[in-house]
């Protein structure tokens, strides 16, 4: 995962697309939450946020 993050950071720098970063962080959080929602009792937490 560390290598992926390094590569992606390199990509954002080279393409000068830092403005994509906030969106990607939200996606990442969503992905984690969705994963948690599928495997634990964290479901209601999602609804309180969104």
């Amino acid at each position: 995962m560390l290598e992926f993050i390094k590569d992606f950071w390199g990509f954002l720098r080279e393409r000068k697309k830092f403005w994509l970063l906030p969106m990607l962080i939200i996606f990442g959080l969503l992905a984690v939450l969705t994963f948690l929602a599928e495997t634990s009792a964290a479901g209601p937490f999602i609804y309180t946020i969104f």
Partner: protein, 589 residues
């Protein structure tokens, strides 16, 4: 320097091996996995290319992937942002897939390569760009020292169309048209509207075009595409759904053409053929204008073409006949499979390799770059299958095949190295007598099990081509449509389309040697140097790769005889039960 190219994870995965700039081997994964358009990691194709060259992965200097996944993801995000909140359904379908899977293609590639060789050095994995791979696959193996280069397809990272110039070992792409404006996607939208599968049924739309009248050309120009005199274009996205939806076109497009999209397998209507004819005319014009611009910008008289749109033989034929270039060379694996080859070639020449050009022939070896089987292997495999065959010497085999064809038989022809790219060129082909008026119906309905309107292509001895077709250049890869010569039009009905055209393959010295021998034997017997040549498969099935695949297809269809190597099999002599359900096992394409 040994360089392995890979295309994968979208459609038509493939692997190609380039050694010191020479193409040694290339194959599509579908031929091994038997899954049409297989998009998975090309494990079998890759393993086979290494085995063929007697190498292991550790001997390879670089492995090059044909495109850059992060830039594709960037395009996806920016497209969704641009159209938001429209496109949420598509967003919801695509983004989880990317976050879970597609964004990690580098890691997947490394993992799969380590499964082949645990010591694989990740520093050897490089990434090319989609259209650079296409351009390289056309220019670096062309017989031209210098050439203009044009790539046209659906979309890669951002580019959908590129124009550039190749000089020696340098290739520079100077102009690009970006997504969502795409000739490939425009053609795919019409493919969808006509009820054919996107990324697979485009050639059916091309085959349907001569059956209709181009009644809708002006409507397409008025509403869908703004085509400039220099060949650049913009699509009117109000009519297309591919940026935001899960289909190519929506209600507005359907209203424009007076009704809903045809459902797959529904009977074809006159309107479908008229629409096919219309979009074909628009594509022809766009390709001609882009080529004229490439000619004007480069001042060169040679043109190389690649990308999925370069498989549009009708547009190619028009370009060859009416375009500004003296010579045209089209990569036979112009679609994404060829990207594997282009990726390997890009890396080869980026590492300072000098390019040696032979103006008399290209570097594709007739596209015969896949697996082959020795006579001994073929016999052992046929024996294991319980097949009954006669082993003949080459002259007798070719004479016997010619006699069978003259008698009206449909012949499976399996010889030498398998073709790379979507066309069968005589190594994995089904052949028939082109003079036979009912050959098209017999092949379509009883053997290939496909739609009745679809035409068949002729293979002709290269030295006889101009006597039979209005063609003044070679077409070894069946990528040019030309008129059947007026005096011959009635004599080869099986390959003469409704408008008098044919998708010609000229078979010269670079072609499959036994196939050329058969054309000669057939000409000696009948005076006709032309045969129907269609791929050795049924609808929805990848073209056969091994003798086993060929035997199964032979026993599952109404093929009369089969020549594998020097073995001749007659259906009437087989004791293995025929497989009546063979065709039903493949999902229609």
């Amino acid at each position: 320097m040994h360089i392995l190219g890979i295309s994968a994870f979208y459609h038509d995965s493939a692997a190609a091996l380039v050694v010191d700039g020479q193409v040694m081997a290339a194959a599509q994964e579908e031929r091994f996995s038997r899954k049409k358009h297989d998009a998975g990691f090309p494990e079998h194709a890759l393993t086979w290319t290494l085995e063929h060259a007697g190498l292991c992965l550790a001997d390879v200097d670089y492995v090059v992937f044909y495109e850059k996944p992060f830039i594709k993801f960037e395009r996806l995000l920016e497209t969704y942002l641009h159209f938001a909140p429209r496109g949420f359904r598509s967003f919801r379908a695509a983004i989880p897939l990317w976050l879970r899977d597609k964004l990690f293609q580098k890691q997947q590639l490394q993992t799969r390569l380590r499964e082949i060789d645990a010591g694989f050095d990740p520093g050897k994995l490089l990434f090319s760009e989609h259209h650079r791979s296409h351009a390289a696959s056309a220019f670096f193996v062309s017989p031209f020292q210098n050439a203009a280069v044009l790539t046209l397809d659906g979309v890669g990272e951002w580019a959908t169309t590129t124009l550039g110039v190749g000089r020696g070992a340098d290739l520079e792409l100077t102009h690009e048209i970006h997504f969502p404006h795409s000739l490939g996607l425009l053609y795919s939208a019409f493919t969808y509207y006509a009820g054919f599968k996107v990324n697979s049924g485009e050639y059916k739309l091309m085959g349907l075009a001569p059956c209709g009248e181009p009644k809708y050309v002006q409507r397409i120009y008025d509403h869908l595409i703004d085509l400039k005199p220099d060949g650049s274009f913009r699509l009117n996205l109000d009519y297309f759904e591919y940026c935001t939806g899960l289909q190519m076109v929506g209600a507005r497009f359907e209203r424009l053409f007076g009704g809903p999209a045809r459902k797959p397998e529904e009977p074809l209507r006159a309107r479908d053929a008229d629409i096919a004819a219309s979009i074909q005319q628009v594509i022809d014009e766009a390709v001609l204008r882009l080529a004229a611009q490439a000619h004007a910008l480069t001042g060169l008289d040679q043109l190389c073409l690649a990308g999925g749109v370069a498989l549009n033989c009708v547009a190619n034929g028009r370009l060859a006949a009416r375009g500004p270039f003296e010579s045209l060379w089209i990569q036979p694996a112009a679609g994404d499979a060829g990207g594997a080859l282009g990726a390997a070639l890009t890396a080869s020449y980026a590492h300072g390799l000098a390019r040696n050009v032979d103006a008399s022939r290209d570097g594709m070896a007739g596209a015969l770059l896949g697996p082959e089987f020795s006579q001994q292997e073929i016999e052992a495999r046929l024996d294991a299958l319980g097949a009954r065959y006669s082993r003949l010497d080459e002259t007798d085999l070719l004479s016997a095949c010619a006699r069978r064809l003259d008698a009206g038989d449909a012949l499976g022809f399996f010889q030498g190295r398998m073709e790379f790219g979507p066309r069968a060129l005589g190594a994995r082909s089904i052949l028939c007598d082109a003079r036979r008026p009912d050959a098209k119906d017999v092949l379509n309905e009883k053997i290939k099990l496909r739609e009745s309107f679809r035409p068949f292509a002729p293979a002709v001895l290269a030295e006889r081509a101009s006597e039979w077709f209005d063609l003044d250049q070679s077409s070894p890869y069946m990528l040019l449509v030309a008129g059947v010569a007026a005096a011959r039009r009635g004599s080869i009905p099986a390959v003469t389309h409704v408008d008098g055209s044919a998708r010609v393959q000229t078979v010269g010295a670079e072609g499959e040697p036994r196939f050329r021998g058969l054309l000669r034997a057939f000409e000696t017997l009948t005076g006709c140097p032309v045969l129907v040549n269609t791929s050795f498969n049924v609808r929805g099935e990848p073209i056969v790769c091994t003798p086993e695949d060929a035997f199964r297809c032979f026993m599952g269809t109404e093929l009369d005889c089969l020549a594998i190597g020097r073995c001749l099999l007659l259906k009437s002599e087989q004791r293995v039960a025929a497989d009546a359900d063979y065709g039903a096992r493949f999902k229609p394409d």
